[in-house]
């Protein structure tokens, strides 16, 4: 890697990036909780500004010699406010938003901001402008969202002091000085002072909002990190427990059986293959418990079991058939289905098996075709795994067809359904 370090971002670039807003820099992914909160604050701020403005419009109209000017300004400002409200509203609702180009976004938002500012000056002259400080809250929420999207840290008091030493504030001060030294009527001077106070209040509200939202995000992040730390710790303990209880204890049992003559040395390989299968079933249980299991992974232990039993696998599903992700209750039922069908084939003495999957939006089917000489018991013998499964799933859930050398058994289970009652949930968990 080169030792040359490029210069950091220029201040003007950061200002332009802020003008473009979160819509230009966000990931477009589903927003995290802190971003949603900031967007909710922004939406609330904009709605309050709209309400305040329209509450004061009648009074302004009554006192105006040319009422069309304030009403036009109010309507234009409302349109601009509603325009800038759309994106934070989608973000607040947790919806995926399309991303905009930075230059376009910056231009559109510049026009909207100028329209809102001028509209408020016209509609709410003098002391009334102070009432729109929630616009600062909305602006602060917007600015912090942009900084988070860009990866810029919030500088707190430094940002506040920088703002007051910025060219914007220098321009405001110069304008005020001109008003004071020139022959401007007192009421106009007061109006300008009020406008300046409104601007200061809005900026202070913006800074306070940014500070609060950033602090709240850091606090949430700390809590999440703490929860992750605890979960990792717990996971390590669980793994150690699992190794001790399952792996070490099983190996110890095999070793003891071998030393005490209960296990013949010639059977050690099959004993270990059986242990491997049991551990893989446990591994599948863990995968299901993680809440994200694919058919591809769920079917693997059954295929390995058939291999270990010396059964030739003629046809198996590919990822094209086995890409579905199942809910934990579906995954548990599916592993039972496959387990029962595979056990039946192995116990019947099959030497070659095909295991196939079919699915649509509502049903998953598992078919096992074997060469074990046909299915002797139709109706199914009571008390066996297959009979219990068919009783649970319904009589239409099974199809048994004889083949030239054996049988073709298909079991179907529902897919894509939420559990209906708490009792159902208890049963499958």
């Amino acid at each position: 890697m080169s030792t040359h370090r490029p210069p950091p971002l220029s201040r003007s670039e950061v200002w332009v990036a802020h003008l473009a807003g979160e819509g230009a820099w966000g990931t477009g992914e589903h927003p995290e909780a802190a971003a949603r909160l900031a967007a909710q604050v922004q939406v609330a701020g904009l709605i309050v500004v709209l309400s305040v403005m329209w509450t004061l419009v009648p009074e302004r109209l009554a006192s105006s010699a040319e009422p069309w000017i304030p009403i036009t300004a109010a309507v234009t400002t409302t349109a601009a406010l509603l325009g800038v409200l759309v994106r934070p509203l989608l973000l607040a609702l947790g919806r995926r938003r399309p991303l905009s180009r930075p230059t376009t976004a910056a231009l559109v938002r510049l026009v909207a901001s100028t329209t809102i500012y001028l509209g408020i000056v016209v509609v709410l002259p003098g002391w009334r402008a102070v009432a729109v400080w929630p616009l600062g809250v909305a602006g602060g929420a917007d600015a912090i969202l942009t900084r988070w999207a860009l990866g810029l840290p919030f500088e707190g008091p430094h940002w506040w002091s920088t703002l007051f030493r910025s060219p914007v504030m220098a321009g405001v001060a110069a304008g005020l000085a001109i008003v004071v030294v020139t022959d401007v009527p007192a009421q106009d001077t007061v109006a300008v002072l009020m406008l300046l106070m409104a601007l200061g209040l809005a900026l202070f509200a913006a800074w306070g909002t940014m500070w609060l939202l950033d602090a709240s995000r850091r606090r949430v992040d700390e809590r999440v990190e703490d929860a992750v730390r605890r979960a990792r710790h717990e996971e390590h303990r669980r793994r150690a427990h699992w190794l001790h209880d399952d792996v070490c204890a099983e190996l110890q049992l095999t070793s003891l059986r071998l030393r005490t003559g209960r296990l013949a040395p010639s059977h050690v390989a099959s004993e270990l293959a059986d242990l491997d299968h049991r551990l893989r079933v446990r591994q599948t249980d863990e995968l299901i418990a993680s809440g994200d299991a694919r058919l591809a992974e769920l079917v693997q232990p059954a295929l390995r079991r058939l291999q270990a039993a010396g059964v030739r696998l003629l046809d198996v599903p590919s990822l094209d058939d086995a890409h579905l992700h199942l809910q934990p209750h579906e995954a548990r039922l599916f592993t039972r289905l496959v387990g029962v069908l595979v056990s039946n084939a192995v116990n019947a003495g099959a030497s070659a098996v095909s295991l196939l999957l079919q699915h649509d939006d509502e049903v998953i089917g598992v078919t096992v075709i074997d060469d074990a000489g046909g299915f002797p018991d139709v109706p199914l013998p009571p008390g066996r795994g297959l009979e219990r499964l068919v009783n649970e799933l319904g009589p239409g859930s099974i199809t048994i067809e004889p083949t030239a050398q054996g049988s073709k058994v298909t079991l179907r289970m529902p897919y894509g359904h939420e559990l209906s009652t708490p009792r159902d949930r208890t049963q499958v968990n």
């Binding site: 490029p6 180009r101 990866g151 591994q283 696998l313 086995a322």
Partner: protein
């Protein structure tokens, strides 16, 4: 007699398997326990007939896909095979290797020894063998028709894209626009434009509307295929239509 290279960090298992291969071949088998040692090994020996590569190397940043690609790019005639447990965490790299490299077969470490040796014998005699049935559910029926190593050149049109990918590969932790700008000296707007230019190509790799984080994950996963293009792209962005008809 065939010359076989085994790349696997489970040395005891690999050496035991190498002994079986030697006994059944007889073959000349070399075992390497690290992806980093693959390139030096290939440089110091004549081409192997078959490279049998594990996918998971938790002690290294590289994966078995890097080892397979290194073998393929150094000696394209060497047959490539994957040997793996086939657990969930290797499913994605296995799919990547399957799509991008001429994988002759996939052998399961859990399969009976006879099945493993049979698959390797098939590959050496006919050039390929079906993947192990227990691993087939993790793979599509055939390699993807539209993904190829050459397609990665479309992800680096010019030096600016190369800088972006380099930063995504080098940054520790999640990359942000600010960090990439600081790392590369590119303007924020430029980075944004580069990302927008690459989105259609990334969609071809199964990443529609990829975020910076998704691009970073993709870069790490596909490092071995991206890096040759990052080191030597054209100086200037081409003018006019960038994407050519396929």
């Amino acid at each position: 007699m065939a010359r076989i290279l085994i790349v696997d960090d489970a040395v005891a298992l690999a050496e035991l398997f190498a002994n079986e291969l030697t006994r059944h071949g007889p073959h000349q088998v070399t075992v390497i326990d690290s992806v980093a040692d693959v390139a030096p090994s290939l440089a110091n020996s004549p081409p192997f007939d078959l490279a049998l590569v594990d996918l998971s190397f938790p002690a290294e940043t590289a994966s078995g896909v890097d080892a397979l690609a290194t073998v393929h790019l150094t000696h394209p005639r060497t047959l490539l095979a994957i040997i793996t447990q086939g657990d969930r965490w290797v499913a994605e790299p296995m799919r990547l290797a399957w799509d991008l490299l001429p994988i002759a077969t996939v052998v399961s470490k859990s399969a009976p020894l006879d099945a493993q040796l049979g698959a390797i014998a098939n590959v050496l005699s006919t050039g390929s063998a079906p993947p192990d049935p227990a691993l087939q559910p993790l793979l599509p029926r055939g390699p993807s028709g539209w993904r190829s190593i050459d397609e990665f050149s479309r992800l680096v049109h010019h030096r600016g894209h190369a800088k972006l990918w380099r930063a995504l590969l080098d940054l520790v932790g999640e990359a942000t626009y600010r960090e990439i700008a600081t790392e590369t000296g590119l303007k924020l707007n430029t980075i944004k434009n580069y990302r927008a230019q690459l989105l259609p190509e990334l969609a071809q790799h199964g990443l529609p509307d990829a975020s910076l984080r998704e691009m970073q994950d993709f870069a790490h996963r596909s490092r071995v295929f991206l890096e040759p293009h990052i080191s030597g792209p054209p100086d200037e962005p081409p003018t006019g239509r960038r994407r050519q008809a396929r």
